[in-house]
Symmetry: C2
Subunit: 986 residues, 2 copies
């Protein structure tokens, strides 16, 4: 060796730098038989509001709260998908997708259409949001899903196949069978179920099941349900690849330090084998993403490309880019028999002391607002249809969008930050300009001065399919009022003095919400009965009068401190309530049904755990964790005030300084209406409080009660027990709470005690014979699930804030055993769809000359059956109409009303001729027949079920009669030929 060579050898470097290291990754793997297949499913979970508002999330503003920008996700996704034809992605939340879509130019739109049609980008779930399943009414679920699916169908010709409810805090039966099977989904994936349930299922490989959510539909509405083993994030082992994430990236450039391909492949294989160990078949899913990830999509795909490439080169398992659809098909192809799951997945706990049952009630005012808007939206679309949908002007679309957003699992749930809750409310308010503050006794139109011969015109619209008798209430100044109906007849009416408590609330809240004081105070509530035809309106005229036969009756007012000697009775009709000597309710009696029941109604509050002890779990927006129960006694200093009159008796009680209650018994009604005004909940003792009311009877209910599933089916609940798995309940109160959307009832074989609600709420039967409802919550600590705010709602006026006061109603009835369903179902529908009021004024009696005073869209002699509701009547852009009827009863729920029902469309649409009617899936994005043919039928372990499922038959286009079996909801697209009458209504 020459000396210079010797020297040189010592100087030179190890490797020739600069060598090309471009690697074309092989990501083309599909399913491989005989191997464990890891379905790598890239996804992002984008809440349409939570810590930031939906718009802030979309554009990426307010990042100091949370770094999240959905525009980034979608913008960056397209080039990432184009880079490799094997890459796939699912996108879920259509509220975001639509915001993005309308900002794109035609080139991007064409590209995206190509990606979607080739399956590289799949829109799944497909609603505007990923709705909650506890605090959401099924009608809202249907509407928001329909809205999203419609866009997907129209813009891309696609029909989502998969339910993807990965984040909601527990899962409802209605979601599985109605928003799953009836929408045409082949499978439904999620993760939040009780931790004990999950642990059990892991051991028995029962995380993937067939869920039979409907007793009425049985196996005809089965759906494959996949529960994720841990969460909806990448598997354990550091596979997070967002910009700035800490997981080790796959470093496969041999020219750089820290080459780690073997190590990362081993990590991936280990994660796959662990998951395979708790999963049936040789298919597992890796959910590659989480909240607001893929802001720069390439950073994930770059690493997934490498993992797939090197894992498959390694050969121990097979990894493939996949979607839940591909995964579902692979599961189906395995031809396995799956365990059966019935009922639902409520309540959800992720820890022994962490039952997510607080959110059933959190933000009760928002929950009420959403429910109110929901009924209103139903009615407004009917009116829009009657008028003919405007092509350019305002439409109900905005309200539809706002309502859809509000169904999100951090919206109506009350688990968002306060400013985000305000945003949802703002959106709803934009679509609603009525007497918004009627609940705080503020309604400018009705508070007009009748002295100058003017009178108030009250237009009353009934969106239900049956004729309706009800009592209207409006605040008025005058103490001599007369009410006339549309035919000029005087109508009996009653004036109820407005309590000063109410007027105080009115003054404060009107100023707080509107910025100006409301001016002179009305003196009375005017109550009068109205009668409104189905799908129609009637008009009433309220004017001042000095002398008239039917001048409004002033209520008699009496007070009682609960005198020892006499029981007090209220009620002018069949139903009587008796108060005992202490001023407390003691007896319920109905002279028609002969029901008589001992009866107490009380308030209490739970002290919210503050999380400062050794166990850091506080009670908060999500989680209900009581730390002691405090009974609230009626303050004996305040008299019980009884207002009596020809229409209604009211019992006013100031329960304590921050709870006011009015109990009403209407002469013509056979139920009790209770209005509660709760708040500001005091916290000066340092304790958060969760206020409940309870109805206590001596009924022997054997730990059993019933609550509705998303406002639809009633599900049997048994205290400290789950029907399909063994539970140890560490929180005996919180662990027995369930969501209540429609109502809750108990029965003792002799009678049924039912309570119906005006919004979603948490409820339970903590003791036999008892029902309780959580009305309001004010808490001082965050419960550690991300929202990072205490649920402490306040109202601020003149820079002073105090706890939010909420107002609401619940309705109570005791029926003979077997009779309760009729009231719960039919009256329940009336609660959902209250009469809609519009106000005008007339000077003299000229109104009737220029207006139609009374109207029904239907044949005047026709009415929908008592067991059928018209859920949707909505004109679409192309002039066709979306029509949806629901049977309101479950199979076997009522001896008469659970029968097959019929609707005669010719009589419903008396003025129009139906040209074409197509029955569709629930979300109206495909023909029903095609959907049924296409939907996968899953095999269930065990013997076949003994079923008698009743569903309506096909609609004969000549007869146009729609049959509905129990619980059936049928959806149609109807085209009208022309207006038969030729008359325009408006």
């Amino acid at each position: 060796m020459g000396p210079v060579r010797l020297a040189l050898l010592a100087v030179v470097a190890l490797a020739a730098a600069g060598e090309a290291v471009y690697i074309p990754y092989n990501t083309s793997a599909g399913v491989v038989a005989g191997k464990l297949n890891v379905h790598v499913v890239p996804h992002t979970h984008d809440d349409v509001g939570w810590l930031k508002t939906v718009d802030q999330y979309y554009v990426g503003s307010n990042n100091s709260i949370q770094g999240a920008c959905v525009q980034n996700v979608l913008d960056s996704l397209i080039p990432a998908l184009l880079k490799d034809e094997n890459r796939k992605f699912i996108y879920v939340e259509q509220a975001f997708f639509q915001r993005w879509w309308r900002n794109q130019n035609d080139m991007i739109k064409d590209t995206v259409k190509g990606l979607i049609s080739s399956g590289r980008l799949e829109l799944i779930n497909g609603g505007m949001c990923m709705h909650d399943e506890a605090a959401v009414h099924y009608i809202d679920m249907i509407d928001q899903t329909t809205l999203g699916h419609k866009f997907i169908k129209e813009e891309f010709g696609q029909i989502p196949r998969i339910g993807w409810q990965i984040d909601p805090f527990g899962h409802s039966a209605v979601q599985a069978y109605l928003l799953g099977a009836e929408v045409g989904f082949d499978a439904f994936y999620f993760f939040r179920i009780d931790y004990q349930d999950r642990d059990t299922r892991k051991g028995t490989k029962e995380l993937e099941v067939v869920w039979r959510g409907s007793k009425s539909f049985g196996s005809s509405a089965d759906i494959f349900a996949g529960i994720f083993p841990k969460n909806y994030e990448p598997p354990p082992g550091d596979f997070y690849f967002e910009v700035d994430d800490d997981s080790p990236v796959v470093q496969d450039d041999p020219l750089l330090f820290d080459y780690n391909v073997e190590e990362r492949v081993n990590d991936f294989v280990a994660a796959a084998l662990a998951q395979a160990n708790i999963t049936r078949t040789n298919h597992i899913m890796f959910t590659m993403g989480t909240d607001f990830k893929y802001q720069y999509a390439e950073s994930w795909f770059r690493n997934m490309d490498k993992l797939i490439h090197y894992v498959n080169k390694d050969g121990r398992i097979n990894a493939l880019y996949s979607t839940p659809s591909i995964y579902t098909d692979a599961k189906y192809a395995a031809n396995e028999q799956w365990p059966l799951k019935t009922n639902d997945f409520f309540p959800y706990a992720d820890n022994p002391n962490a039952y997510w049952t607080g959110y059933f009630t959190s933000r009760p005012a928002l929950k009420r607002y959403v429910r109110m808007m929901s009924g209103y939206y139903l009615a407004a679309r009917q009116l829009e249809f009657f008028k003919g949908k405007s092509r350019s002007g305002p439409a109900t679309d905005y309200l539809g969008d706002a309502l859809a957003l509000a169904q999100h699992h951090d919206a109506v749930t009350g688990t968002e930050k306060q400013h985000v809750a305000n945003d949802y409310a703002k959106r709803l308010s934009i679509g609603y300009t009525r007497c918004l503050l009627l609940n705080v006794t503020f309604c400018p139109p009705s508070e007009m001065d009748f002295s100058k011969g003017k009178s108030l015109v009250v237009l009353v619209y009934n969106s239900l399919g049956w004729k309706r008798e009800d009592i209207l209430r409006v605040p008025v100044f005058s103490d001599s009022i007369v009410v006339h109906d549309s035919e000029g007849r005087e109508v009996e009416s009653q004036l109820l003095p407005i309590a000063s408590a109410s007027l105080n609330i009115r003054d404060k809240h009107v100023k707080a919400y509107l910025g100006t004081s409301p001016g002179a105070k009305p003196k009375f509530w005017l109550a009068f009965p109205v009668s409104v035809p189905p799908l129609g309106f009637n008009t009433y005229f309220v004017s001042s009068t000095k002398k008239s036969a039917s001048v409004s009756s002033k209520s008699t007012v009496s007070s009682s401190q609960g005198s020892e000697d006499s029981n007090l009775q209220v009620g002018q009709g069949n139903l009587k309530l008796q108060y005992n000597a202490a001023g407390a309710l003691s007896l319920y009696s109905d002279s028609k049904t002969l029901i008589e029941a001992n009866f107490e109604q009380k308030y209490k509050y739970y002290i919210g755990q503050d999380g400062n002890g050794s166990d850091p779990q506080a009670s908060g927006a999500y989680i209900f964790r009581p730390n002691g129960t405090v009974p609230i006694k009626t303050d004996s200093q305040v008299p019980l005030t009884i207002l009596r009159g020809p229409i209604v008796d009211e019992v006013h009680q100031q329960i304590n300084s921050w709870i006011y209650q009015i109990t009403r018994v209407y002469k013509g009604k056979d139920y009790v209406e209770t209005e509660f005004i709760v708040g500001p909940i005091p916290t000066d003792d340092g304790n958060g409080k969760e206020v409940a009311t309870e109805i206590v009877t001596n009924m022997a209910t054997n730990k059993t009660f019933y609550t509705d599933s998303s406002g639809r089916d009633f599900i049997k609940r048994i205290r400290d027990y789950r029907s399909e798995w063994k539970i140890e309940v560490h929180q005996p109160i919180a662990g027995n709470y369930y969501p209540v959307n429609l109502g809750i009832y108990v029965e003792d074989g002799n009678k049924e005690l039912s309570v119906l609600v005006d919004r979603s709420i948490g409820g339970s039967s903590i003791k036999d014979g008892q029902i309780e409802l959580m009305l309001h919550r004010r808490l001082l600590h965050d419960d550690g699930r991300g929202v990072a705010e205490a649920l402490n709602e306040t109202v601020c006026l003149d820079n002073q804030c105090e706890g939010l006061i909420i107002e609401g109603k619940y309705y109570l009835k005791i029926d003979p055993q077997g009779e309760g369903a009729r009231w719960r179902r039919t009256f329940g529908q009336e609660i959902y769809s209250p009469l809609l009021l519009a106000f005008s004024e007339q000077d003299g009696g000229n109104w009737a000359n220029s207006h139609i005073p009374k109207f029904s869209a239907m044949d005047p002699t026709y009415s929908l059956p008592d067991n059928v509701a018209l859920l949707t009547l909505q004109e679409l852009e192309d002039g066709s109409v979306l029509l949806r009827f629901a049977h309101l009863y479950e199979a076997g729920e009522h001896k008469d009303l659970s029968a097959l029902a019929s609707v005669n469309l010719k009589r419903v649409f008396r003025d129009k001729k139906i040209g074409k009617i197509i029955e569709t899936s629930l979300s109206a994005n495909q023909e029903r027949a095609a959907m049924e043919k296409k939907r996968l039928k899953w095999k269930v372990q065990g013997p076949p079920a003994d079923e008698k499922v009743v569903r309506g038959g096909p609609v004969d286009p000549s007869k146009l009669v729609v049959e509905l079996g129990p619980m059936e909801i049928r959806t149609f697209i109807v085209s009208f030929e022309r207006s038969i009458s030729g008359k325009q209504l408006l």
Copy 2:
């Protein structure tokens, strides 16, 4: 109005949702005359190592330290640039760009080539890194810039026009004139200058200047220099648009809430007007980016598109996508006269107590390692050229890359995290396998057993262009050694007992660095003189002998405690050092120059401010902030040990328990060499310490001293004074420190005291007649500039860590006034390029039979002039050769040596015939003539300079003589026709 219409009107929403809002943004604006033009310059600043290693930054690993991934930046940039042809971007750091480039497929490469050739993506600055300007030697600057520019030229045919040193901590004259003007740059942009200087310049609109960095070159090397008003980030007013940044995004979708276009336009205009107010001409630059930004480029461009679109629609000002090149051309076109700036921008302070002068010394071991590798890399490329560059095997490229990285402004500066410093060292070590630990007395080849007739072959390579006489030192076991030269002649040698202190260090560090103990300990340093021809080698043979005329002399060893009665003198030649009775240096005398000077040399340390007081500024990696000075007295218990012999006298002093010093006077040399071993610096008193040595004389130096600029020009420094602006110095020590790469000197009209260094270091003259060097720093607090680690280097062995010990040398000489330059320049070059050793062994005397023992690449009778160094001799991939000569003297620096010098290439390349020679720019990426023609000539305020610039003339291809004026560096690409001799050397 019909009643239904009435009701409807109330229900409907404000706006028709779903309307298309795609907006094609107009971003096409160019410069508009008569308007304020805001040049929006999108950029990212990507440190090639700082808190993470360069590879970690590239791939995005170790994100828990810092979320940063350069691959994301470049990956996301391409689709973002393609989206709008007006979008522009500059990319700077070629180390990253090259890593990325080699991972791309041909399609991406073609796309990028298109973007670059159309100017939408511009590669500026263009070195491998953005090198530091204080701790970096100009040869390293040239090499790393050449490496980057070469790639850009070869791959893209581009020549960077702009210097972009936006982050280095102060700016050197050499950067401006050599790495700016001589590279062909038209302008140079940066931001870190003293805060007082900046404030002054804002008031006088002098942030943009013409910088004349070279006294020798005068206006011929002027460059336009733009100093940013605040930093290199977006202007004040929240214009940060990284994913997750908090700045308000431009929300221009009218269908979403929080539309803010007007507000954001106003913010932008306000920022522009504020900047215009301190800027000449109607062009200002917004630097849109900062460290590691554009990880998802689209999020920036999306917002910049909107800002440009809406700002220009607003019309008050004109905003345009721009680059520094476009900005520079606009400035030039304004035909303005600019203020003149000379000298440099050191030191840098960003606060009264925050002088960034600590990093001049931080990590002295790394700094030494880099300097050592730098000289080695120069020599290694020469050897590679002689051998012929391997096409497939190992090459010096890796070392070149590693060295380039090490010049980064958070590499050799010592301002990176410890693990990153380790990474730089690892990269350097991969290219170097020699007696790496010779500085801790460990060199296995020389420690062989000579007893069995074997002898050590020492090959000594001289990379300089002149013949060299030097003293070699290697550790040996035997005490009877004979050295022969290549012609078989015995060479006088001297054995110096190895101090036990040195052996302890050796044992510990060899084990710490190599993992194994070094085994038996050598007893002596063997010193012997060598003589090596220019660009050549000589061979020496070391063997054991019992009897020989020239057996190595053992040094006489004497000790002194500083006896009162006698002064002690050392030195066998002209130069003598005298130690006083206290054992301290007292007199320097040179019998040849008749210089005699009183002289003290001492150690002291500064206590590092801990930042715990009211002012939180600690002393740290960047910042030197002393909190008191503590003199270090020689421990009188330890004797002064004097080793004398025929070659060298050494004075060993254990200064205190952690400072050991050896002062050497070689018989044949006229300077003093001082070796210092400092550490572990104790910190058990809770104080960080910064150790300095000082030389104190009674010279009257009038506050004035001289330090080199990046190892090249000497710049006059005056204490507490800046030549071009008025300073108030709040830190009288730290504020007078300057970087020293080559040396520092003072003069008193009669003589010059020069100190040369073996690495970059901080130095000053704190008092008249005094010079001090900061040798080592160990600090316990972070100084708050991002590195988030205390500069507390340790060495760990057997799980015990102690402070790092550093070893080094400085060289001192006192010359008659006007004579110092010769030593500083010529010997300075020898320090940079030490003799390179290679070892082998022979058994018997067979070596000479098979090897060429002595060699010079040049004509044996030729030598480069004393004032010229061969900076580069490097074979390129195409077989051509990069050749670079430097004149070593400034104009007027030395009466003889500052003259025009000549190099005869025919004699340099005696065996080869030059076929073609092209003179190029300094970075070899364009022909020199074209560069000179093209470069912008800037107008300067005031009268024209009175200049006599001397530069060499064109090279006549027949004569092949290269002339060099003072300070001139000339770069050539040479092609050889064939080897004249036909002989292969190797």
